[in-house]
Symmetry: C2
Subunit: 193 residues, 2 copies
């Protein structure tokens, strides 16, 4: 079932991509991440699903862009899985530090988290995205139980919260190498220990 675009709109008109993302935000908030579909988002945006696919390869990538997240699972998951297994902890911590080092990258994550703490729909959306699009893919790629990837996530999530929300010192000002040395063995142990 295709839904016609509004009259006078051309594919690739200046704001089509932006309108698809706005529609995606609405649909993700209403349905959660798992139940949202490209077709449903196309319907909400009043465009053909093929046009959505023209702009966005996957639902995961669309979610990341709709929420302005610095984490696109299509890039992050392979980056974690590629490389020596005995260095996966270090790769994950370095990636986390890189992704959270820019204020402009952190703000949308913290905004989404703030919503999740007060709004059930935002919570469901964030949880489904984090687990099904990111954590479980890494765990399954490594052959690790889901409980262990979630323990690793808890450490990394707590690190970001303690540094950038609670702003605990000396943690907030610690340099990257010091944090890698401190935290990478924790992540490594959860995933391969």
């Amino acid at each position: 079932m295709t839904v016609k675009r509004r009259p006078g709109r051309r594919p690739g008109s200046v704001d089509t991509r932006g309108e698809i993302l706005a529609a995606a935000r609405t649909v993700f908030a209403e349905k959660g991440f798992d139940k949202a579909t490209v077709r449903g988002i196309a319907r909400q945006a009043q465009v053909d699903p093929a046009l959505v696919h023209h702009y966005f390869d996957t639902k995961e990538g669309m979610f990341a862009q709709a929420m302005h997240l610095p984490i696109n699972p299509e890039e992050v998951v392979p980056a974690i899985l590629e490389g020596p297994r005995e260095e996966v902890g270090e790769r994950m911590v370095r990636l986390l530090l890189k992704l959270t080092s820019e204020d402009s990258a952190r703000q949308p994550v913290i905004a989404l988290l703030r919503s999740a703490m007060t709004n059930e729909a935002a919570l469901v959306m964030l949880r489904e995205f984090m687990t099904n699009a990111v954590l479980f893919r890494v765990a399954d790629g490594l052959g690790v139980p889901h409980l262990r990837i979630e323990a690793a996530f808890a450490q990394m999530f707590g690190l970001v919260m303690a540094r950038y929300v609670l702003q605990l010192e000396p943690l907030a000002s610690a340099d990257d190498e010091e944090l890698v040395e401190l935290v990478a063995p924790t992540i490594q142990r959860y995933l391969t220990g």
Copy 2:
């Protein structure tokens, strides 16, 4: 400088303790934890400082009670420090699981955290309490750098957030023994590794 109680109020009247706690909440929110004083709280409550001391042994205990926190540093810090050093990780994780197992104990913590994410005064108050009244006392008692106790805190804080705010499964439903086995070695390594 003593400030007279309002006329007609007797020490020990039904709501004196509650009024001191209400005054404490106001003063902590305005001054933060570090700069708030028993004298200032007594002034706000219009009672004699001795009366505040009659109800509350320490500023730390008063803060915990004013915020309805399940963590009274006067009890928690010695409980962590007492006992074999090689089991401090396990003691901390067991204590955390015990303190957060009751819904009624978790709710005030999550409420305070929610405030801290949107309100600078609440953030300062929470941060000063967490570091100066709890974490640094444990670190100093063990002779451990503050950075390491904060890494341990980040793991435990992330664990509580992932279980009770994000409600990630299977982590949220994991049993205590499984979590102790998984997370206690992390805390132990930060503190004595």
